[in-house]
């Protein structure tokens, strides 16, 4: 028990988790039709990348990775604010959030 707790979690586990989260995000991004879900998938991908940043920062005892994570979080927050505002505007205009129906750019 004690020895189990004292053991470090291996690097590969973090990376596997990060990759799995990222893949989930990609799949959600591609498969989901609701704009909000698509948006959440993007956030998921961002956070998956954040996780690998933190992992490597810890591994290499370098602080740059951590700093980068803060940047990503900050941009993600801003993006969430703008993105949600756009989504609300789209919903008001079209009364739908299905990505397949938002296709005015098509020729």
């Amino acid at each position: 028990m004690n020895s189990f707790l004292a053991q470090e979690v291996p690097l590969s586990w973090y990376l596997l988790l990060s990759a799995a989260l990222f893949a989930l995000g990609v799949v959600g991004f591609l498969v989901k039709r609701n704009l909000i879900t698509v948006f959440m998938s993007i956030e998921l991908m961002l956070n998956a990348v954040n996780l690998s940043f933190v992992t490597f920062a810890h591994q290499w005892h370098a602080v740059k990775g951590q700093i980068f994570v803060f940047f990503v979080m900050m941009v993600a927050a801003a993006e969430a604010a703008v993105g949600l505002a756009i989504i609300i505007a789209v919903f008001r205009a079209r009364a739908t959030l299905a990505v397949d129906r938002i296709d005015l750019m098509k020729l």
Binding site: V26, F29, L30, R33, V99, I102, D103, L104, M105, L107
Partner: protein, 650 residues
């Protein structure tokens, strides 16, 4: 060190006149336009006189000829090509300048009266001044390229002035014809210049002469080709066979223009150019022979056409072509100073004849048809008198100017071996015809009974009569300079050849023969047009074929139309327009547009507007990139033996 003569003022003064009248002329009062237009050539003439006075020992001594003035800034300095804007004043250009600016000034004065009521008065004088600018550049040029600038420029001025009445289609067409036919000649001049540059490495006349002088047998063939190219240029400008066709049509311009440009000065540029480059011709007997034969043929050919023309200006135009033929004939027998002598006297009497014809046309309200004139001597006595002088001068009667110069040419031809005898005979025949058609003109226009409505001719203003009188005096006295004196004066510039077998005795006999022939021409004209006026028409009716050929100028325009113009038009219309323009150029444009359209149609399917498809492409692209990174390229490349071998083979 020579005192500065300010040669550059000679062309630039008329150029200033051109700019002033050309830009501001429409807004200036008429007297100011006239003052500017007359002062510019007068001042240029003054500069020339000043230079001449220096050389003849009056005024400040200026040293010896040739006097060279070069612009301190190099004009072209590229590789082997070094050209400066340099002017040369030697005996040849001095004589030419005196004629160009002197006769030019007289014709400017005449134009004040002649063009007084015309629209575009300022435009006319600005063009006339522009012509003088380019003509003096041509004459003063120290190298072929500067001469070419003047050469093209006088062509431009000629075009502008032929087409002065641009509302008239025939005038606009004549201007274009003159310009295009001259292009053919200019092509020859250009090729000649390229060859000069390639073989001599210089375009400066004096350097070419020096290089030729060092080695008398200088690359015979090349010199012949160069001389023939230059001859083509001269034939275009000076209206020789086969390029003479533009000059008769050039009579569409105002009459003073015909006098200045198409009789006295510009058309003699070809003769001047041959005299200027005479060293080349001296090294090529073949080219000289071509010049002589072309000149003699042109003289006779044009004279026969002039026999039956009924337009007073056209008679004079063909006569000009014929007299230019004389000058070429003289050049061809290497009697350059005789050619220039005839050029000078011809400038006097032909300008006189044209201006007199202009006075007649002006007086009777624009009528140019000889058949509708007649009996004008009573109404225009002074014009009649000066025309008589002109006719006697061109006919070669002693002691008028034409006698001396024509005689000098015939004498030089006669002494030029057996071929020269034939040339002499052609020249003599031409003299007979010349005398005949000039007296025909004289009888038809001034004597006999009036045949048109010429009861109340307009008065001729003094601005027109003055130049006529001066030119008449020059036509009487101009020849008395004498060939001997003139030849020895020009000798340093054009060389002098001792005529073999010549003697004063022979010269006297030839002169008597020439005058007798001229008298015979007068006699025939007198018989046909005074004693029995009906006989001329009977004669024409008796030989309808011959008459028609002459009246239609040997159908040369028609032949050129069929041989050159029609095929060119056909090629332009069918081949160039439909095959090249529509097919090739248009086809390429269509092809490019089609490719763009098609690829657009295909690629636009990508832009589905569907967000998820974009996302899918993005993901796919990222996946491909990842895979690309994962491939161990070194190992893969190493497994290709050919590449490996290629490196190992090193």
């Amino acid at each position: 060190m020579n005192a500065s003569l300010h040669l550059w003022l000679i062309p630039l003064l008329p150029f200033a006149g051109f700019l002033l009248n050309g830009i501001l002329g429409r807004g200036l009062p008429k007297w100011l336009v006239t003052a500017v237009a007359l002062l510019a050539p007068l001042a240029a003439f003054g500069v020339v006189l000043n230079a001449a006075a220096g050389f003849f020992g009056f005024g400040p001594a200026v040293g010896s000829l040739p006097y060279i003035e070069t612009c301190p800034i190099p004009w072209i300095d590229a590789g082997v090509l070094h050209v400066n804007f340099s002017f040369v004043l030697d005996q040849l250009s001095l004589v030419m300048l005196l004629v160009v600016t002197g006769v030019g000034f007289l014709i400017h004065v005449y134009s004040v009266g002649y063009m007084g009521d015309e629209e575009g008065y300022a435009r006319y004088f600005s063009f006339l001044n522009l012509f003088l600018f380019f003509m003096t550049v041509l004459v003063l040029a120290g190298n072929a390229l500067v001469m070419f600038v003047g050469w093209e420029g006088v062509g431009l001025a000629s075009y502008l002035l032929i087409g002065f009445y641009f509302n008239k289609k025939s005038a606009a067409d004549a201007g274009k014809k003159a310009f295009i036919v001259n292009r053919i000649g200019d092509f020859g001049f250009l090729i000649g210049m390229f060859l000069l540059l390639a073989n001599f490495g210089t375009l400066t006349f004096s350097e070419i002469a020096a290089k030729l002088g060092m080695d008398p047998g200088w690359h015979g063939g090349v010199v012949t080709v160069i001389a023939l190219c230059l001859m083509l240029g001269a034939a275009g400008k000076s209206a020789q066979l086969p390029l003479y066709i533009w000059l008769p049509d050039a009579m569409e311009g105002p009459t003073p223009v015909s006098a200045l440009i198409h009789a006295a000065t510009m058309v003699t540029a070809g003769v001047y150019m041959i005299a200027r480059t005479h060293v080349l011709f001296d090294h090529s007997p073949f080219a000289l022979g071509v010049v002589a034969v072309v000149g003699a043929a042109t003289a006779l050919f044009a004279a026969t056409i002039a026999l039956v023309q009924t337009d007073i200006k056209r008679v004079l135009a063909y006569s000009t072509i014929s007299q230019l033929g004389y000058m070429f004939l003289a050049c061809g027998v290497a009697a350059y100073s005789a050619a220039i002598f005839h050029l000078v006297t011809h400038a006097f009497f032909k300008a006189l004849l044209f201006l007199a014809a202009g006075a007649v046309i002006h007086a009777i309200g624009g009528e140019q048809d000889l058949r509708k004139m007649g009996g004008l001597w009573k109404k225009l006595p002074l014009t009649f008198a000066v025309t008589t002088v002109g006719v006697l001068a061109i006919g070669g009667f002693f002691p008028f100017a034409g006698f001396f110069s024509k005689d000098a040419i015939l004498y030089a031809a006669f002494l030029r071996g057996p071929g020269g005898k034939a040339l002499w005979f052609v020249g003599l025949l031409t003299a007979l015809l010349t005398s005949f058609y000039m007296f025909r003109l004289w009888y038809l226009a001034f004597l006999g009974k009036p045949r048109g409505e010429t009861e109340h001719p307009h008065a001729t203003p003094w601005s027109m009569l003055g130049p006529l009188v001066v030119l008449a005096l020059l036509s009487i006295g101009g020849g008395w300079i004498g060939m001997e004196r003139f030849g020895s004066f020009l000798a340093p510039a054009v060389g002098a050849r001792a005529a073999e077998g010549g003697s004063a005795h022979l010269e006297l006999i030839l002169s008597i023969v020439a005058v007798a022939v001229a008298l015979a021409g007068w006699f025939v004209a007198d018989m046909l047009y005074r004693q029995k006026p009906a006989r001329a028409e009977q004669l024409a009716a008796a030989y309808p074929g011959g008459y028609r050929v002459l009246a239609n100028k040997y159908y040369v325009d028609e032949i050129y139309g069929a041989v050159v113009v029609k095929p060119l038009l056909g090629i332009s219309r069918y081949f160039l327009e439909w095959v090249v323009d529509v097919g090739l150029v248009g086809g390429c444009a269509w092809l490019l547009a089609g490719v763009a359209n098609l690829s657009g149609a295909i690629l636009q399917r990508w832009q589905s507007g569907n967000l998820r498809s974009y996302a899918a492409w993005l993901a796919a692209g990222a996946a491909v990139l990842l895979l690309f990174l994962l491939v161990p390229w070194d190992a893969v490349l190493a497994s290709f033996p050919a590449i490996h071998f290629g490196i190992a083979g090193h």
